[in-house]
Homo-oligomer: 116 residues x 2
């Protein structure tokens, strides 16, 4: 068993190409013995976004704080707010954006542990 | 892609033996095409608890609201509060309890989709 508070975890800046204003925390991971999945947390600052990209695995999201948007394959955006869940299937083009001018956008982004 | 708000999902009472005051929601599941994992949400009312049991798969938790405790194999309890993550490994004896006299305890409890 492991219990950890998000507020006790270091935030690591994400340096991936086309990411802007994004930090990552890794509360539950392969290093904890997680058999299948890992729970990552991304904080996106106002004006920030993840890459608009695709990959062969899914994202499972829960919005912890703030408001943002999920950009779909056709460019349309779905609003995301605190308390929402999102599922991005493998190979779906997607991007997460903070849509607030002042608040951080904080979400769980769970993935198979091979891709944590 | 799917986006759904927790507040829009029906709560189903959990009738499993030795569960008390527990409701379940299933925001992201096999029915949504989730390839590997499912995200369930349990609400435990004051005085309520899940069964004290074990099973051959893991739990991955995030505490959305309230305060509770995670009972371990030796009977010791780990405090859980809003913003905490927990990992219960396969075959670890465990129980979740609401430790507040007035507030609901609400948590994500993710599992492999075969066990949702």
């Amino acid at each position: 068993m492991k219990v950890i508070s998000l507020s006790d975890m270091e935030k690591i800046p994400v340096t991936m190409q086309d990411a802007a204003g994004v930090c990552k925390q890794l509360p539950l991971s392969a290093a904890d013995g997680s058999p299948v999945f890992s729970f990552r947390v991304f904080t996106i600052e106002p004006g920030g976004h993840t890459p608009y990209h695709t990959h062969p695995f899914e994202h499972m999201n829960f919005i912890i704080e703030g408001s943002g948007e999920l950009v779909q394959e056709n460019g349309d955006k779905i609003a995301l707010k605190k308390g929402d869940f999102a599922l991005v299937l493998p190979d779906e083009l997607h991007q997460y954006r903070n849509s607030s001018a002042s608040e951080s956008f904080i979400m769980i982004c769970a993935v198979p542990k091979e891709y944590e």
